[in-house]
């Protein structure tokens, strides 16, 4: 398993985005990354996933085992990554097909059943609800079977109840992987993260999390207290950014 260390300054074009970034993303754990909009959360997700963009990291992102990251990261984004013309099975097996490898359809069907889509395998994304579409995306991440998983606001477009259900599902199915969860929802970060960072232009601060095991109960007083505390802090950061 792979611990990721990220050190350096993140630049967007010629403007600094985040200075003195120091993130340790421990192996087999969930790391939550929170921050006001525009701080560079999604840029960070693209950086870890190895996707190109107008950003630049002056520093390094190194897996502790020293092997290259390429091919070891799977990513799940908010929406739009499903092929609208393909059914669930085809969507889950697209990785293998794009690489020219024979897709394992049996495994794809098993994973779809695991995410609760048994019987809907032949449906296309347009015939699924928002939550079901994200289940397909989750099944695809599992199909790729990468040790590192980047979740970039994966449940943002879902209604509250569906979101809570998806959080539980993701927590159980992605167990054992190094997960980087990008979110703007404090409750989501608190429920799922083993450790959480608040991102700002001057780096990342570690946030306090309740001691209870993940996924944390959203009715537990310590979860709610942590949420209130985190919201207040985010609000403070947001208003400072706006004032500046």
């Amino acid at each position: 398993m792979t611990t990721l260390r990220l050190r350096g300054d993140l630049w967007m074009g010629t403007a600094p985005l985040i200075r003195d970034l120091a993130l340790d993303l421990p192996a087999s754990r969930w790391s939550g990354l929170l921050g006001p909009s525009g701080v560079g959360k999604s840029t960070l997700a693209r950086l870890v996933a190895g996707l190109p963009g107008p950003y630049r990291l002056e520093g390094a992102i190194c897996p502790e085992d020293g092997k290259p990251l390429q091919g070891r990261v799977a990513m799940m984004a908010q929406e739009g990554q499903l092929l609208p013309w393909a059914d669930c099975v085809q969507n889950v097996t697209i990785g293998a097909r794009l690489r020219g490898v024979r897709p394992d359809v049996t495994r794809a069907r098993a994973l779809l059943a695991q995410v609760g889509l048994k019987g809907l395998e032949r449906r296309r994304p347009a015939a699924l609800s928002g939550g079901q579409r994200q289940r397909v995306a989750l099944a695809r991440v599992l199909m790729e079977d990468c040790p590192i998983v980047v979740l970039d606001e994966p449940f943002s477009a879902l209604d509250t109840l569906t979101r809570l259900a998806m959080q539980d599902l993701a927590a159980s199915l992605l167990q054992g992987r190094t997960v980087i969860l990008i979110t703007h929802d404090p409750l989501e970060a608190i429920r799922l993260s083993d450790q959480a960072y608040l991102l700002g232009p001057d780096g990342a601060e570690v946030l306090n999390l309740p001691a209870s095991p993940v996924p944390r109960d959203y009715t537990a007083p310590e979860t709610l207290a942590a949420q209130a505390q985190m919201l207040a802090r985010l609000h403070r950061v947001e208003s400072e950014t706006c004032a500046g």
Binding site: R46, A49, G50, L51, P52, Q70, G71, V73, A74, M75, A77, E79, G80, Q81, L83, P84, W85, A86, I94, G95, R97, L98, R99, G100, A126, E144
Partner: protein, 247 residues
């Protein structure tokens, strides 16, 4: 009887009545504007002749369309796959479109003769650009999330083209094909007007020369019917396949 058919017949009846009305009210002689009755009679009397020429025109139309679509699709795929081809071929493609193909029809007839090949080539050239351009645009407009997906999954360029870009471009191809189907009958007629010894275009010119205005109109109706059948055929075949592909 279903309503769309009834409505169609009603519209047709209205159009015919309007036509006859203009003929009666204006009192123009039949060699200037024959009424629907005269044209109908000519259609009936000249049916074997019309059928013979219509077959020639339809065959050229079909072959020209097939060749133009095949060439356009192949060009677009090639352009999408190879930046080198984009660099070299795209300016040529745009230049080719700047030259009106209709103006080339006499030259093509000079080169290929009065037979079918010159008509097929004119149709092919006319529809080549809209098909290529629409399909190529569709291929290059892969949404950013799918682009990321291809990168994350380490897709090979060829598989990216056929598994992501191509299905994503099918609605764009459909609009290119729709244009092609509309342009093709014009093109085949131009080809036949420039120089031909067969076909509906030839028949119209010949009938015009002999003052057989009713036969001219009959040939025009047959050509219009061909265009409509072609369009209806395309719509039936593509609906629910090409257009829905991207949704």
């Amino acid at each position: 009887m279903n309503t769309p058919l009834l409505r169609g017949l009603l519209a047709l009846g209205f159009a015919l009545a309007l036509w006859q009305g203009v003929v009666w009210a204006s009192g123009v002689p039949p060699f200037i504007l024959p009424g629907p009755g005269r044209v109908g009679a000519s259609l009936w009397a000249n049916a074997p002749l019309l059928w013979e020429h219509a077959r020639f025109t339809a065959a050229n139309l079909g072959m020209g369309l097939a060749a133009g679509v095949a060439l356009g699709v192949a060009t677009a795929l090639n352009l999408a796959l190879s930046p080198g081809a984009r660099l070299l071929l795209r300016p040529m493609l745009i230049f080719a479109q700047a030259v009106p193909v209709f103006a080339l029809a006499p030259i093509i007839t000079l080169w290929l003769g009065y037979g079918a090949p010159s008509k097929i080539v004119v149709v092919m050239l006319v529809i080549y650009f809209p098909v290529t351009s629409a399909f190529f645009d569709g291929l290059m407009r892969l949404p950013a999330p799918l682009n990321d997906l291809a990168q994350m999954m380490r897709a090979t360029p060829l598989r990216r083209l056929f598994l992501l870009q191509l299905p994503n471009a099918l609605p764009a191809l459909a609009s290119g094909l729709r244009l092609a189907v509309v342009y093709a009958p014009f093109a085949v007629l131009i080809g036949e007007w420039v120089g031909s010894s067969r076909g509906l275009g030839y028949l119209m010119l010949m009938a015009n020369g002999r003052g057989q205005t009713d036969l001219m109109f009959a040939a025009l109706l047959v050509l219009a019917a061909q265009s409509l059948i072609l369009f209806a055929l395309f719509e039936t075949l593509s609906r629910g396949r090409l257009d829905r592909a991207g949704q």
